[in-house]
């Protein structure tokens, strides 16, 4: 929290290294131009990866605190996420259902979190 932190070269070097890691991981399987094909089963399996990745990020962020499952239902995140998902399935097919998920979820989350301290 220092007021005017100094820039140092070591940190800038690390940042450059981290940027390289972003390129390497995001492009990992298409860095090389050599032709090869994923086995068919792997390609079929990967269609389940996007929703799995989202769920793997979301669920712990909603039902866990400090590395443990919640022991109370008084947590604003559960209600916010549930309200957002409910809105999505209600408005599915209409325009901007995803945007509505964010807005409705926050409209439920913020009062519970800031007002009741959940």
């Amino acid at each position: 929290m220092s007021a005017a932190a100094e820039t140092d070269l070591w940190t800038l070097g690390v940042i450059l290294g981290l940027a390289v890691m972003t390129v390497v991981t995001r492009s990992f399987f298409f860095i090389s131009s050599k032709p090869w094909k994923l086995p068919h089963w792997a390609q079929r399996g990967l269609q389940y990866a996007p929703i799995a990745a989202l769920s793997a990020v979301i669920v712990p962020e909603v039902v866990m605190a400090q590395g443990h499952l919640l022991t109370t239902w008084q947590d604003a995140r559960i209600f916010g996420a549930a309200a957002g998902a409910a809105f999505y399935f209600w408005r599915r097919g209409a325009g901007q259902a995803v945007l509505g998920t964010i807005l409705v979820g926050m409209a439920v989350y913020l009062p519970l979190h800031l007002g009741l301290g959940w």
Binding site: V14, I15, T25, L46, P50, P60, T101
Partner: protein, 244 residues
Amino acid sequence: MTALRSLIRHTEFRAGARDMASVAPGLAAWGLMTGVTMVQSGMSLTEAVAMSLLVFAGSSQLAAIPLIAASAPVWVILATSFCVNLRFVVFSAHLRPYLMHVPRGPRLFLGYLTADLSYVLFTRRYAHPGEDPVQRRAQLAYLAGGSILNWASWQAASLLGIALANVVPLHWGLGFAGILALVGVACSLATSRMRRVSAGVAGAAAVAAFALPFKLNIVVAIAVAVALCLLLEPPAPPDQREAA
């Protein structure tokens, strides 16, 4: 450059940007919190701006921030970043058949720009790689439109967070909007029974494996969900498969 200009004029570029726009508030809330966190951890303005503009990967940045503050060995920081980013390695396998027609330089640049939601929205719109130049162009334009808007909203919010680091209250939990954006996109993907199974399995596995270091629980959860779905999937020849 002219290639990029003609991509921007493609109607799918606009479609990609429009789909990304509906999740942009969530991305922005996340970017804002990441910007604030960088400055509050003691990084200088230059360092925080450089990290935001160059690294462009929220979870990797958040994992690296305390390690940088503690002057951890460089290889530890980079290895941590690689592990936290492992899900992108999985995504890159999925994206490979869509992108191999692009020359290597632009391909890697496109890969660099393709963050979680750009990947998810792209594969949601295109279940299969393009088969002719016209389809491939349209797909590229959609990916570019989404990725560029993703980049711009994330960077704008992150730089704003850096500038307002001492004013934005972290305890409000604004970053939760990022999770809600993912909830919305996940709901939009839950169109088949097997996909809902995938989501359920991955969620449970991510909680069960939460104690793993470097957010490895996420990549373990993806692996478990994909493997289980392959086992449970009703066998069907590829050409009769539902174009999910």
